[in-house]
């Protein structure tokens, strides 16, 4: 199977290279009018078609290689080095599947396979716009060639074990990765990273061919939203995994690898907003092109940061010597982007300029600025240790303590813009409309702030509490603003059609899925920010607990019922059974069981946190191990407020994104159910439901 996999990868590379070069030649011939010149013996259209088919076939080849690796993992083929390093016989089946992306070679193969899969769909849908798809497919093939070259010549996943003698068993999967989310977190994240290649390819292709109009944005809109959604899910699954497995009580540690995933998310979010200005008003063309270029390059930079070992990270298992390859690729991509931009920049001339500082366009612009400021801050913080080592000879630490001061204020400002943007009209907002739209959110903000201070929050005592108070208050304001938008629109439809308010709201959303889907996403972000704000009030307690011992945290009393050990072929485990009481009343029917596992094959430990999650807070209990002095289990308990809101907020964001991807009802269908409006109501209806995004 190793030979089959290696051969499939080589075929994949040859096909992708053919797609790149034949496609490139065909597009060049078409660009210079090769069809009629007689200079070429082959019709450029036919050459482009063969290139497209080669691209489709490369997907089949890379799929065969991915299948070969998974087959080898499931059949314990320890003649392959990668299988020895990342699997073992006792490894449960789902984790054998996850072994594919647990190491360098496998994760790059996953990347190449997803890229080929995206390319497959793109090349099949070429009839939407044959020439533009030919450009995009050729650019995508260029990216495929890079990854397949790496897989064939630098980090081959099917390399045989040194010495040629296969061991009886493998070294097993990293224990940190033996957790259900690890089976879906990396593919989701990669679907996001790799997915941004598609809008990047379309943007670069459209620029190269001086594509008229904004149709390329319409073609790539759903691609971009889907990619953004996958990246969002991937990031949050990673947060949940860190929360449940690393056992330090938090979900975001500002680790360079975490930062690397957040940066393309921020620029991708900025792109999703600013393309609306290009679609609606023909503005920000250069800006949008550079946003999507940057998003793609940041995806590659993130991979470079983690693979090259430039910055120290808890994701140390991903480090290797392929950083130089990524630097070269990044430089080539940047050079191609800059060259194409300067060659074609007159094509990106804006049709209109902003007309007012107080308008929807301007709010998008400021939203973009804040997102990019956040991106720069994270990039700066991630690279500062490297910079300080270069300047001063000392690698300074840049941890959460730094980001708490610089990134949180930017995040709070972003939350503010989330609410302000939808309240402003396109082109310019009148003072009267501003007053009408901002009164309720303003009252919600002030009332929440005063109420929170009155119940005991002291923003003057702690910076974290101050930001928390601001977040809660802004969340109330933004939620009020978004709810009033929904209610205003639904009210108009209710008066028009006589439907009840709920049915009117559904119709409202169906009439403009993109606009109201976007509002739902914003609402989800508000819920997520509320969850983040709870972090300011985290509490923890730690104690060596013998049987019958108790520990207090918040209103809870934790009592240790007993300590137990268990074994299975994969790992040995120690855990405590802990009853939880709230003012003497038992909270849970079953005791909590925080656990420490030690894996048989490599002796590595892993924490399995016991978590009792409610809307108010998480009671998060960690079995840290046995105290060396007393031999008693060390139990650490955290009371983390509002964490559940983060995961609920994610569900709302995903739901909103899915809504935004559904086509809106056409105006004809949307008005079928409408009864004749009462006199004097038409203008209001038009204002409330026809405003666009």
């Amino acid at each position: 199977m190793a030979a089959f996999g290696s051969f499939a990868l080589l075929i994949g590379l040859a096909l992708a290279a053919y797609n790149l070069f034949a496609g490139g030649i065909a597009l060049r011939l078409l660009a210079v009018g090769g069809t009629n010149s007689g200079a070429s013996r082959v019709s450029p259209e036919r050459l482009a078609e063969t290139a497209r088919r080669a691209g489709i076939a490369s997907f089949v080849a890379v799929t065969a290689a991915a299948f070969a690796l998974i087959w080898s993992v499931f059949h314990n083929d320890f003649s392959i080095e990668y299988i020895v390093e990342h699997s073992n016989i006792a490894l449960p089946s789902p984790y054998k599947f996850a072994a594919m992306w647990s190491g360098q070679e496998g994760s790059l193969l996953l990347w190449a396979w997803l890229l080929a899969a995206y390319g497959f769909v793109l090349r099949l849908r070429h009839k939407t716009d044959v020439k533009l798809h030919a450009y995009a497919g050729t650019i995508l093939a260029g990216v495929q060639v890079f990854f397949l070259t790496l897989l064939n010549f630098k980090v081959p996943p099917f390399a045989l074990v040194r010495g040629g003698i296969a061991p009886a068993d493998g070294n097993g999967l990293n224990p940190l990765l033996q957790y259900p989310e690890m089976v879906i977190h990396p593919p989701m994240l990669y679907l996001g990273y790799v997915g941004f290649t598609v809008p990047f390819a379309f943007a670069l292709g459209a620029l190269m061919m001086r594509y008229p109009g904004e149709k390329w944005i319409h073609i790539t809109r759903r691609w971009t939203m889907m990619t953004w959604m996958f990246l969002t899910i991937g990031i949050f699954l990673g947060m949940h995994w860190a929360y449940a497995v690393l056992g330090w009580g938090g979900y975001w540690g500002w680790d360079p690898v975490e930062n690397a995933s957040l940066m393309p998310w921020l620029t991708g979010t900025a792109f999703l907003h600013s393309v609306m200005m290009q679609e609606k008003r023909g503005m920000m063309k250069s800006w949008n092109v550079w946003l999507i270029f940057s998003t793609f390059m940041l995806s590659i930079l993130g991979t470079l940061l983690t693979r090259a070992g430039l910055v120290s990270s808890v994701h140390a298992f991903a480090q290797s010597s392929i950083g130089g390859w990524f630097v070269t690729f990044l430089v080539i991509v940047a050079a191609v982007c800059i060259f194409t931009y300067f060659l074609q920049r007159d094509h990106l001339k804006t049709e209109h300029h902003l007309e007012s500082l107080v308008s929807r366009e301007s709010s998008f612009l400021f939203n973009n600025l804040v997102l990019l400021a956040a991106c720069f801050t994270i990039l700066w913080g991630t690279l500062f240790p490297v910079l300080s080592e270069y300047v001063e000879g000392v690698k300074k630490t840049v941890s959460g303590e730094y980001y708490r001061h610089v990134a949180i204020p930017i995040g709070v400002f972003l939350l503010l813009l989330t609410g302000v943007g939808p309240l402003l009209a396109w082109r310019a907002s009148s003072f009267r409309s501003l007053r009408r739209n901002f009164v309720l959110p303003g009252i919600a903000f002030a009332a929440t702030a005063v109420a929170l201070i009155a119940i005991g929050l002291k923003p003057w005592a702690d910076e974290a509490v101050f930001y928390s108070l601001m977040t809660f208050s802004l969340a109330a304001a933004v939620a009020t603003a978004i709810s009033s938008e929904f209610l205003r629109g639904a009210g108009v439809i209710h008066r028009q059609t006589g439907k009840n308010l709920f049915a009117s709201m559904i119709l409202l959303i169906r009439r403009s899925t993109r606009r109201y889907g976007g509002y739902i996403v914003h609402l989800g972000l508000v819920v997520i920010f509320i969850g983040f704000a709870g972090m300011a009030f985290n509490r923890s307690a730690e104690k060596a607990m013998g049987v019958g011992d108790s520990m207090e945290i918040g209103p809870y009393t934790l009592t240790n019922l007993g300590n137990t050990q268990e074994s299975n072929p994969n790992y040995d485990s120690e855990y405590s059974l802990i009853d939880v009481y709230d003012h003497g009343k038992k909270v849970l029917d079953q005791p909590m069981a925080p656990e420490k596992r030690v894996y048989a094959v490599n002796g590595q430990p892993q924490t399995m946190v016991a978590n009792h999650s409610t809307l108010r807070w998480d009671l998060y209990v960690v079995y840290e191990g046995q105290d060396t002095a007393t031999g008693l289990p060390m139990i650490k308990a955290f009371l983390n407020p509002l964490v559940a809101w983060i995961w609920i907020g994610l569900s709302i964001v995903v739901f909103g994104t899915l809504v935004a991807m559904v086509p809106s009802l056409s105006p004809a269908r949307a008005t079928v159910a409408a009864t004749a409006p009462k006199p004097g109501q038409i203008p209001a209806a038009a204002v409330a439901t026809g405003g666009g995004d």
Partner: protein, 169 residues
């Protein structure tokens, strides 16, 4: 009408004053909390065992360094040392990497200034640019002015633009 507006404004002002007074009263209550100093200073320090976690976040039982660092921090606070003296003591013993964030001296200051400086420059630049664009917009024509063919064509273009900009999707 004027009277109604005046009443509304008066009610609004009174509500705003009440909120302001409530906020001032609340802010003038308790102001300091010395109990959290261990957490405040501890948050600024890293565990030096190589786990890349903060001192308070390190959760390894048997960690060779955490206990010593915690004791040093407790002693510093108990002896009445200032935060700066405690942190300097840690740097002298463990090196600059023990601090969770760059200091505010020398080259480290760049780490703090740069994000805000870049954001401020971008913000000011954008505001100036948008104001410049807004000033250069053509003035609106009078409603009853005679319409030339060129103006009629411009009006048609404008109608098309309005249709495009206000379509729902």
């Amino acid at each position: 009408m004027l009277l109604r507006n005046w009443n509304l404004r008066s009610k609004f002002m009174r509500s705003a004053q009440a909120l302001l007074v409530a906020a001032v009263v609340c802010f003038s209550l308790d102001a300091t909390d010395t109990g959290g100093r261990f957490n405040d200073v501890g948050r600024k320090l890293m565990c030096t065992c190589g786990c890349a976690q903060s001192l308070l976040g390190c959760d390894h039982v048997g960690c060779p360094n955490r206990g010593g660092e915690m004791d040093e921090l407790r002693d510093g606070i108990a002896n009445g040392q200032s935060d700066a003296v405690i942190l300097d003591g840690f740097v002298a013993r463990w090196g600059a990497t023990v601090l969770g964030a760059p200091t505010t001296k020398g080259f480290d200051l760049v780490a703090w200034i740069m994000p805000f400086a870049v954001a401020a420059i971008a913000l000011i630049g954008t505001i100036l640019l948008v104001r410049n664009w807004a000033k250069s917009q053509p003035q609106a024509a009078l409603a009853n002015a005679p319409v030339s063919p060129a103006q009629a064509e411009a009006a048609e273009t404008m109608r098309e633009r309005i249709r495009r900009e206000t379509e729902t999707d």
